[in-house]
Amino acid sequence: MNKRSRTQIAAFGMFWLAGIVAVLIMAFVVGYIMVKGLPGITPEFFTTSPRGGLSGDGGIYSTIVTTFYMIVVTLAFAAPLGVGAAIYLSEYSGNTDKRIIRKLVSIARFGVETLSGVPSIIFGLFGYALFVTAMHFGFSILSASLAGACLIIPVIIRTTEEALKSVPAGYREGSLALGANRWETTWKVVLPAAFRGISTGILLSAGRIVSETAIFFVTLGGSYRVPHSLMSGGRSMALHVYYLAMETRAFDKAMSTAAVLVALIVVMNLTINVITSKIATKQG
C-alpha cells in the first residue's frame, strides 16, 4: 500500500470516527432525557397545570397551552413580515438603479445578517424595555410574541430569501414574457415554486419559539396559570423546565417536561420532512 492510499484511509477513518462520536453524543443526550423523563409522563401530566411552590407538583397543561399560543401569535407577527421583506429584497429591490435604494437595501441585508447572530437575551432585553415597560403590555403573551417575532424575523427573511433565490430565473422570464407583471409572476410562479423552502423556514422558526427560553424569561413572566388572553402572562414548556430545575425540588418533572419538549421538536422536524418530500414529488 502506498503512502497516498494510507493517508486516504487515515483521513476517512477520522471523519468516520468524528461522525460516530457526534451521533453518539446526540443519542446520549436524548436517551438520557428520555430514560429520566418518560417514567414521569402519565395522562394526568398532560391534563393538569403546575401547582407552583417549591414541590413542583402538578403537570404541564398550562405550559402546553402557552407554548401553543406563543407559536401562533409569534408566527402571526413574524411570518407575513419576514416573508414580505424577503420578497421585496429578492424580487423587487434589484429592479432599481437608484443609488439611495440600493444603499438602503444593502444596509437592510447587513442588518438581517447581523440580527440573526445576536444572542436571544438581547431581544429579550429589548422586548422588556419596549413592550413590557414602555408600551405597558406587561409580562404577557403579546410582549413575548413581539420580542420572539424580532428574534425569528431575520431567520424567516434569510430562509425565505434563500428559497426565492433558488427559483430559476427562467421561471420569472417565462412569466414576464407572457405579459405577467412582477407581482403576478411572484404570486403565481415564484412563491409556489419556493413554497417548500419557505414553509421549512417558518416551521424551523416555530421550533425556535418552542425551544427559546432566555427571551421569554424577561417578557413572558412565569405564571403557571392557563393564559386567557393576549395580555396574560404565561410559562412556555422550555421556561417551565428552567423553573422546575432551578426553583423547585422536582428535577424529575423537569426531565419529563424536557422529554415532551424533545418529542415535540422531533415531531415538528418530521412534519417538515413529510411536507417537503410531498411537495417534491408533486413538483417532480
Binding site: 438603479d97 430559476p168 414576464l176 414574457a177 405579459g179 405577467a180 409556489p192
Partner: protein, 257 residues
C-alpha cells in the same frame, strides 16, 4: 423583399448597458409571416436585440436606449408592456416550463389575460398544444408536471404556452441549443408550420440551422468598440451564397466566430 409586409422594425436603434454601448444604430425591417434569423459571433448583441422587441431589457435597470423599435408601425416603448408582450411572445434558450401541470403551463397566459372559463381554456390548451406539435405526446397526461417531459417536449410546451396568448410575433432565443439533433429537427419543422400564422425571429449560433429554417438572415458583428452592428441583412439565400460584405462571407465560411 419590397413585396413583403413589415411586421417589426428598428430605426437607428442603439442600446447601452450603463455607459457601454451594446448595439449601434441598427436599422432593420422584419417581414410578416417569415422566419428571420439573427446570426453572429458570441457577444455581438443578437440576443439583446431580440429582447428589444418585447422589452425584456426593461428588466435590467442600467439599460438605456436611443432610436425606435416598432411593432406594426407603433413605437414599442410607448405601448403598454403587458399588451406588447401579449403580441410578442418569446421562447428561451433553456426550456423553462413552470413547475405546474402541462395544462396549467399552457393556460397560464390566457388566465392572466382574463380567460377564466374552464371549457374555453381546455379548447385553447388543446389548440395550442396541437399547433406546437406536442399534443399527441401529452394529451393523456395534461395533469402531469411540465417538468416531467423530455427537453424537446418541454421546449414545444413552451412554444404552446407562448402561442396560447395568440401573439403576432414569436421571438426565439436559440430555442434548440439545449436540445439533441432529433428534438432540434422537430422544432425546425414546427417553425416552418408556425410561420403561416406568426412572424418569427430567431437567434441562432448554428449557421446550418439559420440556412435550413430562415427566409431572411441578419448578420451582426461587434465593431472596434465592442458595440454590435448590423452588417448585412437580406434573404437567407443571398446572404449564404452571395454576401455583399466580406465580413459576412468570412463568418459564413467559418473563417472566424
Amino acid at each position: 423583399m419590397e413585396t413583403e409586409v413589415t411586421r417589426m422594425q428598428a430605426e437607428d436603434y442603439s442600446l447601452f448597458y450603463g455607459k457601454f454601448k451594446a448595439l449601434n444604430k441598427i436599422n432593420i425591417k422584419i417581414p410578416s409571416n417569415r422566419i428571420t434569423a439573427f446570426i453572429g459571433p458570441s457577444g455581438c448583441g443578437k440576443s439583446t436585440f431580440l429582447r428589444s422587441f418585447n422589452r425584456m431589457n426593461d428588466l435590467i435597470p442600467s439599460v438605456t436606449t436611443s432610436g425606435t423599435v416598432f411593432l406594426d408601425n407603433r413605437d414599442v416603448a410607448k405601448e403598454d408592456v403587458v399588451e406588447l408582450r401579449k403580441k410578442v411572445g418569446m421562447v428561451f434558450q433553456r426550456p423553462n416550463p413552470f413547475p405546474k401541470s402541462i395544462f396549467d403551463n399552457v393556460a397560464y397566459g390566457p388566465r392572466l389575460h382574463g380567460t377564466k372559463n374552464r371549457s374555453d381554456l381546455a379548447v385553447l390548451v388543446e389548440r395550442s398544444l396541437r399547433q406546437a406539435a406536442v399534443w399527441d405526446e401529452v394529451k393523456d397526461d395534461l395533469h402531469k408536471s411540465g417538468m416531467s417531459l423530455s427537453g424537446g417536449q418541454q421546449q414545444r410546451l413552451c412554444i404552446a404556452r407562448a402561442i396560447a396568448v395568440e401573439p403576432e410575433v414569436i421571438l426565439m432565443d436559440e430555442p434548440a441549443s439545449a436540445l439533441d439533433p432529433v428534438a432540434t429537427l422537430k422544432i425546425e419543422e414546427l417553425m416552418n408550420e408556425l410561420k403561416k400564422n406568426y412572424t418569427i425571429a430567431i437567434v441562432t449560433h448554428n449557421m446550418q440551422q439559420a440556412g435550413r429554417v430562415s427566409d431572411y438572415t441578419a448578420f451582426l458583428l461587434t465593431d472596434e468598440n465592442r458595440a454590435g452592428n448590423l452588417i448585412e441583412f437580406g434573404s437567407t439565400k443571398q446572404i449564404f451564397t452571395t454576401p455583399s460584405d466580406s465580413r459576412t462571407e468570412d463568418y459564413i465560411s467559418g473563417r472566424f466566430g
